[in-house]
């Protein structure tokens, strides 16, 4: 039976690197799932996940156990990603991908079709790319709320805890983000 998070955290506090390794293996993909949707490119996503684990492990003594370790780590990662987005949004440079034909929207990266019809797979991948374009038009705060809700299925209360905002704020941001996405995507759906 796999050790519980609390046991791994205690062992990690005592300097057991194997315990920390186990926590990374257990949660790296789950954390990556929402981080990669929040930031623009995979290198940044990997770096945010790495930095989040490092921050969490350096602060293990401060982890009081009033939330699960995963929720605590998740909060660190999401806020790291949001901070990065806020800094990125202040830049005026525009990235140009020479591998993409001019005038075409870049497809979502990743080429798996999961056994679906190839035409549907391509179509859905194009829609996915359009969705991320629309997502990136949202502010970091609105983006975070809708991604935490839709991708990770967090409840309003959990989103409120992760982002450190009120329940009312979560609901209003979610309401706004959904309608804005609908407005941008209604011709495609």
């Amino acid at each position: 039976m796999d050790p519980a998070d609390s046991e791994l955290v205690e062992r990690g506090r005592a300097g057991d690197r194997q315990a920390l390794h186990a926590l990374v293996e257990r949660y790296q993909r789950r954390i990556l799932g929402v981080v990669v949707a929040l930031v623009r490119n995979p290198e940044d996503a990997r770096e945010v996940v790495q930095e989040s684990f490092v921050r969490a492990f350096r602060s293990l003594d401060a982890f009081k156990g009033d939330s699960s370790f995963y929720t605590w780590l998740y909060r660190i990662a999401v806020n790291q990603a949001i901070d990065l987005q806020r800094r990125e949004s202040k830049r005026t440079t525009v990235e140009y991908d020479e591998t993409q034909p001019a005038g075409d929207a870049p497809l979502a990266f990743g080429g798996k079709t999961r056994g679906e019809d190839p035409y549907d797979a391509v179509r859905n991948r194009e829609l996915g790319a359009k969705i991320f374009e629309a997502i990136e038009d949202l502010t970091p705060d609105h983006r975070a709320v809708i991604l935490l809700r839709e991708i990770d299925g967090l409840s309003y209360e959990e989103i409120s805890q992760v982002l450190g905002c009120s329940l009312g704020t979560v609901m209003s941001r979610l309401h706004y983000a959904r309608r804005k996405l609908q407005g941008k995507l209604k011709e495609l759906l």
Partner: protein, 191 residues
Amino acid sequence: MDCSDFQDKLDQYLDRRLDAGEHTRACTHVRSCRPCDQVVTSFQKTGALLRTAAADRAAAVDVSGLWDSISSQLDLEGERRPAVASLAAAREARTQRGLRVAAARAIRTRIGQLVAVAAAAVVAFVFLGGERQDTTTASGAIAQSRPVRIESMEVAEGHRVSTWVKPRIKTRVIWVADAGDFAVQNALDER
């Protein structure tokens, strides 16, 4: 429940936050109202496509070696570096180190500029006789030293150690520098 009521409760309906009675009334309305049914369907489809697109993105990220990177960073930050306040500060630190490494490599190609070395250079003075002595270092600073006993020393990969004794002041010098610098020093010694 009419369309206006339903639209007000749409987010809570999608997220299953309505109480049982309201949820039943909402379901009844959706079944009988085509426009509201289409709105619900489009929201649900958006969510599904978002999850698929996010999963595709996540699958494309290589996490092999992530633990090694984390472990190395924990080792480095525990031993040498001050805590980095933010991801931006970490990036800036890496950029500055990269610039310093690039500048040092350019300087090494020029014979006679051995002092412009970017690699860590540690000079330890072991004094014979046990007396405290003042010496002038390569950079011109005055170093005040006492006898020390060196039991062991670890040298970072890519660096070499050279040791010699300055007989006039009875001083043993231990020089640790980037391996490339020794080629320059050897050329100077041979002239």
